[in-house]
C-alpha cells in the first residue's frame, strides 16, 4: 500500500515537474497573473491571450529579448486578491533572477502587492489600472501605472460629456451619475469626479453595485427616478453587460452612458445584443482591430498554432494584453543597455521601466503605430501618458468617435500629490529626490 502511495506521489510529482517551465541560465522569467476562469474570465481571457502571444512572438521571431529567451508561467487568480497574492508569493523567486515584473490586471491585487514589492524589489506594471496616485514615482518607485490612471480616465469622460453638451460651461447644473463596481477599482475615480463637480458645477451622484454585479435592479430604478443627464459606468466583467441591459429595461438611453476603459470591450456589449447599440466607452488609447504587429502574430503565432487563444485575436482586450507585454519587454530591453544582455533582476528591470522612452518612431518600428502614442516614464512620472479617446458600439463593432482628450494636468497633479503625500505619511516613506535619481 505504502509502495502504491509512493508510486502515485512520484507520478504526480513527475507530472507537475513536466508542467513547470524548465529554466536555463539565459532565460528571463516573467510571471503572468491571469484569470481564465471565474466571473471575470470573459474579460481576463483576451488579455491573457494577448500577453502570452506577444511574449511567444518575441521568442519565435527574435529568439528572445536580445538573445535572452522569455519563459513565462500563468497563475490563475480568478480576480481574487487572496489568490493574486498567493500567485505572487509562488512566482516571485522563480527563474535564474526571479520575476522580472508583475502585471496583475486587478486593482485589488495591485493594492495588496503595492505593500510587498518594495521589500522584494520587483516592479508592478499596471496598464491603465491600479492606484492613481502611483503616478508619483517619488513615493511609489516600484509601481508603473502606464498610459493612464482612473483619474485621467474620469477627466476624459467629463471632457467628452462636456463636448456633447457644447462646452464645459454647459455642465453647470447637469446631473452626472457614476454606476460603479463596489471595490477599490470602482471607487478609484470618485475623488476626481467629485473634484471636477466642484469646478464645473455638475451634480454628482455615485451609485455602487456589489460584486460581481449580477443584480442591479435597484440601482437602475434609482437612475430612472433621478433621470441624470449622463451616466458614467465603471464596471468590470458581468457587471458591464448587466448594466447595459438594465439601462435598456428602464428606458435609459444607451448613448447617454459612457463606460471607463475597462467597460469598453467586446464581452461588455455582445451579451447585451441590440440593447448595447449606441453605448460609448473610453479607450485606453487603442482600439480593437488589426495593426502591423498583427501581421507578425499571424505569421509566427496564429498560423503555426502557437497562439494562447486565437478566437480573441485583435479584440480590444487582446490588443491591450499585447501592449502590456510589449511595454514590459521594452523595459527589459532598456535595462539590458545598462546591465547587459542577460536575465535581469526585478530591481534592474525597474531601472529599465523608469528610463523607458517609447518614441513614435520606436512604436512604429515595433508595429504598434495606431495602438499607442509615445510613452515616457521618469523618476517622478510613472504614468508616462495621459490621453484617451472614445468609441461607440454600433451593434457589430466599436467605432472611434472622438479625438484624443488630454487630461487636465493641474487637476491630476493636485490629486496625485495630495494622495501620495498622505500615503507616504501613513507608511513612513521618505519620497525620493528625483533630481538625484540615476
Amino acid at each position: 500500500m505504502i509502495r502504491k502511495v509512493l508510486a502515485l506521489a512520484a507520478a504526480v510529482t513527475g507530472v507537475s515537474a513536466l508542467a513547470q517551465p524548465v529554466l536555463a541560465q539565459n532565460e528571463q522569467f516573467l510571471p503572468a497573473l491571469v484569470y481564465r476562469t471565474g466571473p471575470y474570465a470573459p474579460n481576463g481571457i483576451p488579455w491573457a491571450n494577448g500577453t502570452a502571444d506577444y511574449w511567444t512572438l518575441i521568442n519565435e521571431r527574435d529568439g528572445g529579448i536580445n538573445g535572452v529567451k522569455i519563459v513565462f508561467e500563468e497563475c490563475e487568480t480568478s480576480y481574487a486578491t487572496d489568490k493574486g497574492v498567493e500567485c505572487y508569493e509562488r512566482l516571485k523567486s522563480k527563474g535564474p533572477t526571479g520575476a522580472g515584473f508583475f502585471a496583475p490586471l486587478s486593482t485589488g491585487i495591485t493594492f495588496a502587492l503595492t505593500e510587498k514589492v518594495p521589500g522584494d524589489k520587483i516592479p508592478l506594471l499596471t496598464l491603465g489600472y491600479g492606484r492613481s496616485d502611483s503616478k508619483d514615482g517619488s513615493v511609489f518607485p516600484w509601481n508603473f501605472i502606464a498610459v493612464g490612471s482612473y483619474w485621467s480616465a474620469a477627466d476624459a469622460a467629463i471632457q467628452h460629456i462636456a463636448k456633447e453638451f457644447g462646452g464645459k460651461d454647459k455642465l453647470k447644473g447637469k446631473k452626472i451619475s457614476l454606476v460603479y463596481h463596489d471595490s477599490p477599482y470602482g471607487k478609484e475615480p470618485i475623488p476626481a469626479l467629485e473634484e471636477m463637480a466642484k469646478s464645473y458645477g455638475y451634480v454628482f451622484k455615485a451609485i455602487p453595485v456589489t460584486h460581481p454585479g449580477v443584480e442591479q435592479k435597484s440601482q437602475w430604478l434609482a437612475v430612472r427616478q433621478d433621470r441624470p443627464d449622463y451616466v458614467i459606468l465603471w464596471g468590470w466583467g458581468v457587471m458591464n453587460s448587466t448594466s447595459i441591459k438594465e439601462a435598456a429595461a428602464v428606458g435609459y438611453p444607451r448613448d447617454k452612458i459612457i463606460g471607463g476603459w475597462w467597460s469598453g470591450a467586446e464581452p461588455d456589449v455582445i451579451p447585451a445584443g441590440d440593447q448595447a447599440i449606441g453605448y460609448k466607452a473610453l479607450m485606453l488609447q487603442h482600439p480593437a482591430g488589426r495593426f502591423k504587429i498583427h501581421d507578425d502574430l499571424e505569421k509566427y503565432i496564429i498560423s503555426t498554432g502557437k497562439s494562447a487563444g486565437k478566437d480573441t485575436f485583435a479584440h480590444v482586450l487582446y490588443n491591450r494584453g499585447l501592449i502590456n507585454a510589449m511595454i514590459g519587454v521594452e523595459a527589459i530591453r532598456t535595462a539590458q543597455k545598462k546591465y547587459g544582455n542577460k536575465p535581469l533582476t526585478g530591481e534592474q528591470v525597474r531601472w529599465g521601466f523608469e528610463h523607458l522612452d517609447l518614441t513614435a518612431d520606436r512604436i512604429k518600428e515595433l508595429g504598434f503605430e495606431g495602438l499607442l502614442k509615445p510613452l515616457k516614464f521618469t523618476c517622478q512620472d510613472h504614468q508616462g501618458a495621459d490621453e484617451a479617446r472614445v468609441h461607440q458600439w454600433d451593434g457589430k463593432e466599436w467605432k472611434i468617435i472622438s479625438d484624443f482628450y488630454k487630461a487636465d494636468a493641474e487637476m491630476q497633479d493636485r490629486l496625485v500629490k495630495a494622495s501620495a503625500a498622505q500615503y507616504a505619511k501613513e507608511k513612513n516613506i521618505t519620497p525620493r529626490d528625483c533630481s538625484k535619481a540615476d
Binding site: 471565474g38 474570465a41 481571457i45 460581481p212 449580477v214 434609482a222 453587460s241 428602464v250
Partner: protein, 309 residues
C-alpha cells in the same frame, strides 16, 4: 404621489426579482427535502445546465435548424446532460456515502461544486453566451396615475409564471406520486427506507435529476437576464437567505422566502442604502435571514423538529 409611485415600482421589482431567486432556491429545497442533503452544488448545476443549453442552441442554429426546433433539441440535450450528472453524482459521490451524517454529505457536494464548475467551463467554454429566450423589455403601467408609470420587466413576469408552474408541478409530484412519497421517506431515514424496500440509489438519482431539471429552468430565465456565464453560480449565495427564511423543506417557503428577500433587499438599497453608503443589498438579505433565525430557526415554513429526550 411621485414617491408612492417610486415605492410601488421598487416593491414590485423586488418581489419579482425575489421569484427569480426562488427558482434557484427550489433546487436546494428539492434535494434537502428528499435526501436531507444541503446541495452546495446547485449554483454550479444551473451553470452547467445553462451552458449545455446555450452551446447546443448555438451549434444547432449555426447549422440552419429553425429556432423553435433548436430550442426543443437544446432543452433535450441539456436535460440529458443533467441526467448524466445526476447519475454520476449518485454513483460516485453520494452512493458510497449512504448512512453517513449530513455534514459528510454536505462536504461531498462542495467537492462536486468545484468539479462541475471546472468541467462545465472546460467542455462548454468560459465566455458569456447570450440566451434570448424571453422578452427583456418593460411595461409601464398606470401612466395616468404616476408620472412615467410603474415599470414592470417582462422577463420578471415570465420568471414568476414559470415559478408558479414549477411549484404546482412539484407539489403534485411530492404529494400524489409513489416516487414522491418514497423521496420523503428516504429523507426521514436512509436506513429505515432501505429496510422497507425503497431503492435508495434510484431515489437519489431521481431527486438529483429533478433538481437538475429545475436548474435548467432557472438557467433559461437567468441566462436570458445575464447571458449564460460563470457568475450564474453566485445565485446560490442569493438563494441561501431565501432558504433560511422560507425553511429548507418547504416548496411554498422557497417562494415566500424569495419574495421577502427580493422586496426587502431592493427597498433597503433604495431607502436605507443612500444613508449608509449604498451597496447594501447583497448582505441585507442575510440580515433578514438572521432576524428570522432568531425568532423561528426552522424558517417560516420549515418543519419544526421535536425530539423526545
Amino acid at each position: 404621489m411621485v414617491e408612492f409611485g417610486q415605492f410601488l415600482e421598487i416593491l414590485i421589482g423586488g418581489l419579482l426579482s425575489g421569484v427569480l431567486y426562488s427558482l434557484v432556491a427550489l433546487g436546494f429545497v428539492l434535494i434537502f427535502k428528499a435526501s436531507g442533503v444541503f446541495n452546495f452544488a446547485q449554483g454550479a448545476m444551473v451553470l452547467l445546465a445553462g451552458l449545455a443549453l446555450v452551446r447546443s442552441l448555438d451549434f444547432l442554429v449555426a447549422r440552419g435548424i429553425p429556432m423553435p426546433v433548436a430550442i426543443l433539441m437544446g432543452l433535450m440535450f441539456a436535460g440529458l446532460v443533467m441526467a448524466l450528472t445526476a447519475w454520476l453524482i449518485e454513483r460516485f459521490v453520494l452512493g458510497p456515502l449512504v448512512n453517513q451524517d449530513g455534514l459528510t454529505l454536505f462536504m461531498s457536494t462542495i467537492g462536486a461544486t468545484f468539479i462541475l464548475e471546472g468541467a462545465a467551463q472546460m467542455i462548454f467554454g468560459s465566455d458569456v453566451y447570450p440566451l434570448p429566450l424571453f422578452p427583456t423589455d418593460a411595461w409601464f403601467l398606470f401612466e395616468s396615475a404616476f408620472p412615467g408609470g410603474i415599470l414592470v420587466n417582462k422577463l420578471d413576469v415570465w420568471g414568476g409564471l414559470i415559478a408558479a408552474i414549477l411549484v404546482a408541478g412539484l407539489a403534485l409530484f411530492f404529494q400524489r406520486t409513489k416516487t414522491g412519497r418514497a423521496l420523503r421517506a428516504v429523507a426521514d431515514d436512509h436506513a429505515a427506507a432501505q429496510s422497507v424496500g425503497i431503492p435508495i440509489s434510484w431515489i437519489w438519482f431521481v431527486v438529483w435529476l429533478v433538481a437538475g431539471l429545475v436548474a435548467l429552468v432557472a438557467a433559461t430565465v437567468w441566462g436570458t437576464k445575464l447571458g449564460v456565464q460563470f457568475s450564474i453560480t453566485f445565485l446560490a449565495l442569493k438563494a441561501l437567505p431565501v432558504l433560511i427564511i422560507g425553511g429548507f423543506t418547504s416548496v411554498p417557503g422557497a417562494i415566500v422566502g424569495g419574495l421577502i428577500v427580493g422586496a426587502g433587499e431592493k427597498l433597503a438599497e433604495a431607502y436605507l442604502g443612500p444613508q449608509i453608503g449604498g451597496g447594501i443589498e447583497y448582505w441585507f438579505a442575510y440580515v433578514l435571514a438572521l432576524a428570522v433565525l432568531l425568532v423561528r430557526p426552522q424558517g417560516l415554513f420549515g418543519e419544526r423538529i421535536i425530539e423526545r429526550i
